[in-house]
Amino acid sequence: MTDIMTPTLGESVTEATVARWAKKAGDPVKRDEILVELETDKVSLEVAAPEDGFLSSIDAEEGATVLPGQRLGQVASAPGAQTAPAPKPAAAPEPKVVTPVAAAPVATPKSPPTAPPPEAPNAMPLAPSVERIVAENRLDASTIAGSGKDGRITKGDALAAIDAMASRPSPAPAPLPAAVAVPHEREERVRMSRLRQTIARRLKEAQANAAMLTTFNEVDMSAVMALRNEYKEPFEKRHGVKLGFMSFFVKACVFALKEVPAVNAEIDGADLIYKNHYDIGVAVGTERGLVVPVLRDADALGLAGIEREIGALGKKARDGELALEDLQGGTFTISNGGVYGSLMSTPILNAPQSGILGMHKIQDRPVAVDGQVVIRPMMYLALSYDHRVVDGQGAVTFLVKVKEHIEDPRRLLLEI
């Protein structure tokens, strides 16, 4: 019998939620086969089978909160082997091979309706009042947010959960003629995933802590688009990766960050930390939510290197395979709302960073060039910045530098 343990989750991550079991208890498993997926504040991670055998027990059901070093389940060499429950007094000698009789599923007596529901094995035992309320109202204790010590559920929390349930309108008895009586509830309460909760918390922290404001500019994309159209094929042939716009923006931002170092700085207490490394977070939307993997030392990469890295990080993000290291330590962030069609937005800082560039949809618009109205592919740019660190002139200069480099990409080559 081998324990499946919760792995160490990385710095500053203290707990994880069991997101999904890939196997059911009793299933055969192979060594290194993925058994269970955990979700933390930052990433999801997978736990593999420690050896060949059978998944003999699941200790932490889906939705349970687990700590590093906590047992998730056990793998046994023989099917149906009984799990060792928590340390047992050495009474009868444990039989080495369990007889098939013991393994046969035994019909458990039906529990009376008032009996407390089986607790998640790892959850804190419920207080007597909470246990009664949960049983009488058929609540799922794991969905009640606890306000007591160490997050325990108090009676008040349980009563509030009943109120929340009661306030959901029950399906109306359809008094209207047989119209579209869809038995859908009018609202649905879903527990936020850990990732969602973290995003929510961090966004509010950034808003609460920074003196955040946004400055705008617009950029004529003609030159970059022309360059891209012209060299698209040779570029892909040579580098094995498509030439996108993002690499130009990353390059332009690195240049602008060097010009205006405050945007690449952060506040630490009464100090300012100016960073001489350029680790650019690139916001990626995934089905689980927004994550911002970090492109390391972007100043040392060429356009091809940037495209390659962004491609790799994006794939990892969509596959839920980002490691913690991929998400930490960015100095500046680029968010591209344009991919969803946004024309203009004010991005929120990725704290403790002091700047975030918002890219938007490229749209043909009439603009005045040399006294003539012409149609150009235009994009609005937004820079949200922490005014405690960056002054207005710096912020505007930053955007102008980005604009200049995109409108005349030769500058990237000449570094001017």
Binding site: A127, P128, S129, R132, R152, T154, K155, G156, L159
Partner: protein
């Protein structure tokens, strides 16, 4: 280089517990104490010796008055010197115990009077007059408190005594006047009344034990009155004249009226305590106590960097366990941990007979705050154990939030309730509802069942009354 990570000034419950915790956490720590023994007021001239006399005097009175009813016929004879001796022996054992704990946790006990001498410096004048200056990264002021004086009443520790003197009277006073109906006055008044004194308690306010739940306080007053204590409430002491044989005390109604002269063999001044912050050298680090002598703190930090204060010298109830909790939290903060004190759950006990114990909010506080609450109350007359012991005075009262049922306050009066309040402290620390206590098994037959029955009463299902 600093001599110590932490120097704690004062070896009372705040100081010695802080020193032990600091030692446990691996800090180099010294505790400076001006008394010859450790333990501060609490161990030497406070909680501990008073409990020794309360315990002994209670038995004396029981033997005189209650034993016969149980079928035991005795005529007790008081041996006051022996009673004092057992008290002193207990005190000595306990102060020695603190010394042992200091050695065990590598705490340096420095004997002498400490005074701050600028940032990070403490000057200690040892009993032989030598002055040593020690340096420490952090300094914790835990100097405690001393009996508060009253204009016109000069404590000579002969006929007019404070709490220290009242613990070591050479004889049982024929009559004793206690100024102040607070916890200390009522406890020491009880001791001497049980041993034979006629006791009168004079109190400025129109109630006893200010701050205590009013219903509980009134019940206590009735009980003490039945025992023979005379209360003069709403009375102001205007002067005291001590002679060789006794004291003449003049009092006047606070509401106005004719002055009255009371005579007694002894007078105990027990109107409260004031922080001990004089001559501490606070000015050398730029800390100024407030008008009443208290040091302002924010999570134990004073306005001076590296200088902390805990216990009676800071605001809050002057209780040994409050100082102890603050000591632990303060030292943990100094050690870079997350020390915390839950001021909402600090219990308080009056060790009279019957005892009074309370934790959390009083009904008066809840009303003032506009909190909707429910009350569950259970009398000890309905408790089997109290009944068979012929000690059925008092009740347990549980106050809980009307909506969430969370326990907000508990007030009880009755024998041994001081030992029983801790159950509710734990419950409140975990935000428990009254129902949580109501659904927790309690042993039968014990007085603790009253705790459960009272909790049941909050939601109207008390079963045994």
């Amino acid at each position: 280089m600093a001599d110590y990570d932490v120097i704690i000034i004062g070896g009372g419950p705040g100081g010695y517990n802080g020193a032990i915790r600091a030692g446990q956490l691996g800090l180099k720590v010294a505790c400076v104490e001006s008394r010859a023994t450790l333990g501060g007021t609490c161990l030497n001239v406070g909680c501990i010796p008073s409990k020794a006399l309360l315990h002994a005097s209670e038995f004396f009175e029981m033997a005189s008055k209650d034993f016969a009813g149980l079928g035991i016929e005795v005529t007790p004879k008081l041996n006051l010197p022996a009673m004092m001796k057992q008290k002193d022996a207990s005190v000595e054992q306990l102060t020695k115990g603190v010394e042992f704990l200091f050695r065990k946790n590598k705490v340096d006990w420095i004997k002498g009077v400490a005074r701050l001498a600028g940032p990070g410096k403490v000057a200690v004048t040892s009993p032989d007059g030598a002055v040593t200056t020690l340096e420490a990264k952090s300094i914790v002021i835990a100097t405690g408190s001393q009996p508060a004086p009253l204009a016109g009443v000069v404590v000579d520790q002969k006929r007019i005594v404070d709490s220290t003197g009242a613990l070591a009277l050479p004889e049982v006073p024929g009559s004793l006047i206690v100024i102040g109906a607070g916890i200390i006055g009522l406890e020491l008044g009880s001791v001497w009344r049980r041993l034979g004194s006629t006791v009168t308690v004079v109190e400025f306010l129109d109630r006893i034990t200010p701050g205590l739940d009013l219903e509980t306080a009134k019940t206590l007053q009735r009980s003490l009155t039945r025992q023979g204590v005379t209360f003069k409430l709403g009375a102001k002491v205007t002067g005291a004249k001590a002679g060789a044989k006794g004291v003449e005390l003049t009092i006047q109604p606070v509401a106005g009226g004719d002055p009255e002269t009371l005579k007694a063999d002894y007078v105990l001044l027990a109107i409260g305590r004031r922080p001990y912050t004089d001559d501490l050298g606070l000015e050398t680090v730029g800390v100024t106590p407030d008008a009443r002598g208290f040091i302002e703190t924010d999570h134990f930090r004073t306005s001076a960097s590296g200088v902390f204060a805990i216990g009676d010298v800071t605001h809050g109830p002057m209780l040994a366990h409050k100082a102890e909790d603050e000591a632990v939290a303060c030292i943990e903060i100094i050690a870079g941990k997350a020390g915390h004190v839950n001021y909402g759950v600090i219990p308080s006990v009056v060790y009279t007979f019957p005892e009074v114990a309370s934790v959390g909010k009083t009904e008066e506080e809840l009303k003032a705050e506009g909190v909707a609450y429910k009350v569950g109350k259970f009398p000890f007359t309905a408790n089997a154990r109290a009944k068979v012991n012929h000690e059925a005075e008092g009740f347990v009262k549980v106050l809980a939030d009307a909506k969430t049922d969370r326990i907000l306050g508990v007030h009880m009066i009755g024998p041994d309730v001081g030992e029983m309040i801790a159950e509710y402290c734990v419950a409140m620390e975990f935000s428990a509802a009254s129902e949580d206590i109501a659904r927790t098994s309690h042993p039968h037959p014990t007085r603790s069942e009253a705790l459960r029955q009272a909790a049941m009463g909050v939601e109207g299902w008390t079963m045994q009354a």
